[in-house]
């Protein structure tokens, strides 16, 4: 009796949970094909127009915001990943004064409520006299992304056997060569994961951006503002496109990884 209950309860529960998680995504995707005029709340019929003319609505405001978000995400990710990786290596590999304090401080941006962080930064920029625009958004995003990069890369550095770098030095590799040929390639999976995480966080961020963006529009900000008077279906189109691209990337990586594992297994 107990066994049969367990047999259907877990699958049913899992299916329900998945369904619950997928409904909003499914809704967004389906309503990107809605032949709506202003508000995209009721189903008006199927059309591909919104996908074809995604940048036409409101003089391309959706696309403008989307482009801004991409740009900010890429720049913040590159800066945060570079510095974050350097900090992570320093914290794990070197003993210096205030090392543990640095480590702790880097945790703070992740633990602080975003509202506080956003408001604090806005106040800072105001008192220093920096006008709010793209630059302030990038600065803000870089700041919180660095913490996530450090945490992600740090784990990877910690699991890297120092003997490997020593072996590199022992085998006539200069410091630069050892980094380029041993340390960096071995840290790369961690660095890439950190970069992806940074980009997702930056692209997605609304609260901190809203405090520090001034007149600049980003994709989350655009959605938030238009939610008051009805989000245009073009926003659904972009959101769906991002989702589909992400899925394609993940599936490709997984399939390639599995193929490689099979190849290696055949060899041995």
């Amino acid at each position: 009796m107990k066994l049969s209950l367990g047999k259907w309860l877990l699958p049913a529960y899992s299916a329900l949970a998945l369904l619950f998680l997928m409904i909003p995504i499914g809704y967004t995707f389906v309503y990107s094909f809605n032949d709506s005029l202003k508000s995209n709340i009721t189903w008006q019929g199927f059309t591909l127009d919104k996908w074809r003319g995604v940048c036409n609505v409101q003089n391309g405001a959706v696309c403008q915001a989307f482009g801004n978000s991409l740009f900010i995400g890429v720049v913040a990710t590159v800066i945060a990943t570079t510095f974050g990786t350097m900090i992570a290596i320093a914290i794990v590999r070197y003993r210096f004064k205030f090392r543990s304090q640095t480590s702790l401080l880097l945790f703070l941006p992740m633990a602080t409520p975003e509202v506080v962080l956003g408001a604090g930064l806005a106040a800072q920029f105001l008192s220093v006299g920096v006008p709010k625009d793209m630059l302030t958004i990038i600065l803000a995003h870089t700041m919180f992304c660095i913490s996530f990069v450090v945490v992600t890369v740090k784990a990877r550095v910690a699991s890297l056997d120092p003997a490997l770098e020593e072996a590199g030095r022992d085998l006539y590799g200069s410091a630069a060569q050892v980094f380029a040929r041993i340390t960096f390639p071995l840290l790369l999976p961690g660095i890439l994961a950190a970069a992806l995480l940074s980009f997702a966080l930056s692209f997605d961020d609304f609260i901190i951006t809203n405090f520090n963006s001034g007149a600049v529009s980003t994709f989350p900000k655009y959605i938030y503002i238009s939610a008051a008077r009805g989000i245009p279906a073009e926003a659904n189109v972009l959101a769906s496109a991002v989702f589909i691209i992400a899925i394609i990337v993940v599936v490709t990586v997984q399939v390639a990884g599995a193929a490689k594992a099979r190849r290696l297994a055949r060899l041995s």
Partner: protein, 399 residues
């Protein structure tokens, strides 16, 4: 030897007044050591004795607090690791996991821009009989194969000096034997100077031409394996390299050829040329396999030391030989190894017995008994093995 060229042959290694202090402890104090070119030299000692630090200093992975390191007469103390004509086989092998076996072996050649790195790497892999696996990744190899790749990766560079950091530690017994033989063959073939660091006395004795026994940052004794074993200078060496029965007592008489020591009323004679100290309180000893067990009191003979009567308190059979523990009242517990020349043990627990050994087999230590207590609780190999086991267990639990 300049970087960019192969060493034609091994080179002398000289350590002059090396000292290495870490925050809180001194790993090595005033180490002076010369290893002649072409020799197979082993640094033997328990964990924490400073042997691995010595190796890392030579490799350039640590900097000495003071002292100088010379390779082939050239001072390399201030040269970086990658500028020294030295290669290391690491304890963990440290093979680069993102490169194939071939790329691993060619790494050093490529860094030094030596012509034809791939062909030379293949040659080195042929030497360790792994060329057929050249295109695999290290994690697809067994422990023994990885060890051989690590060896090939080091010797392909023809270093003046090859450093081996307990490279056989992770292998099982049969593979160890095979690798020991292979290492020795390669050493003779290529004529390199080998500096081998190990805590395994058997490994050191079978492979090295010269052994230095290290303890607490100092070299206790150095010499050929047989000399170290037959005539240990300190109680640490006597107990770390094999087992010993040690006794302490005052010298009661001295002749032109021998000294006699009073051990709790029993007189034990040691040849003069085998005694490091000849007056006052001395520690003397004899190896367990040199001692013979008698069921009845043996006939007095000036050529033999006799102890007894005693009582057998433990018998353990190990195939080739049997180990007896004999308690001699007033003297202590002695260990006796006896070849199993007959079926079954020659004596049973509780049996009374006498012990004797040829006077020439005894040795007298250089230790001052007043400073080092009798049967000093220094680590013997068995304790080290146990410690290693328990440290491994805790490591596993933590992981």
């Amino acid at each position: 030897m300049a970087v960019g060229a192969f060493a034609d042959r091994g080179a002398d290694l000289e350590l002059v007044g090396i000292e290495k202090r870490f925050p809180g402890f001194t790993a090595i104090e005033n180490l002076n050591l010369t290893i002649p070119a072409g020799s197979f030299f082993a640094l033997l000692g328990p964990s924490g004795c400073g042997k691995t630090t010595t190796l890392r200093l030579v490799a350039g992975l640590e900097e000495p607090t003071s002292g100088r390191i010379l390779i082939a007469g050239a001072d390399v103390t201030n040269r970086k690791s990658f500028q020294r004509p030295v290669n290391t086989v690491f304890q963990s092998y440290a093979l680069f996991p993102h490169m194939t076996v071939l790329e691993n072996v060619a790494f050093g050649l490529r860094r030094r821009k030596i012509a034809g790195p791939v062909a030379k790497a293949h040659e080195a892999l042929l030497l360790v009989e792994l060329d057929h696996l050249a295109h695999r990744k290290p994690q697809q190899l067994s422990g023994g194969q990885q060890q051989r790749v690590a060896l090939a990766r080091a010797i392909v560079n023809r270093p003046a000096l090859l450093l081996l950091d307990e490279p056989l530690g992770a292998l099982d017994l049969k593979l160890r034997r095979q690798m020991q033989l292979e290492l020795k063959t390669i050493q003779e073939e290529v004529g390199l100077t080998f500096l081998h660091v190990t805590h395994d006395q058997e490994e050191a004795m079978t492979m090295a031409d010269t052994i230095a026994v290290m303890n607490k940052g100092r070299i206790e004794q150095m010499g050929e394996p047989q000399q170290l074993y037959e005539l240990p200078k300190t109680s640490f060496v006597a107990n770390f390299l094999g087992q010993s029965n040690l006794f302490t007592g005052p010298v009661v008489s001295t002749t032109s050829t021998a000294i006699a020591v009073d051990v709790s009323g029993q007189k034990i004679v040691v040849p003069l040329e085998r005694a490091h100290r000849v007056s006052g309180e001395v520690t003397i000893g004899v190896r367990p396999e040199k001692v013979i067990l008698h069921a009845e009191a043996p006939v007095q003979d000036t050529g033999r030391n006799v102890l007894g009567p005693g009582r057998v308190i433990d018998v353990s059979f190990s195939g080739v030989s049997t180990q007896y523990l004999v308690d001699v009242p007033g003297v202590g517990t002695l260990v006796v190894f006896a070849q199993n020349m007959v079926f079954g043990p020659a004596a049973h627990v509780g049996a009374s017995c006498w012990l004797s050994w040829n006077v020439v087999h005894g040795f007298g230590l250089d230790d001052d008994p007043a400073q080092s207590p009798r049967f000093e609780a220094d680590l013997d190999t068995k304790t080290i093995a146990q410690q290693r086991r328990s440290s491994l267990l805790t490591e596993l639990e933590e992981a």
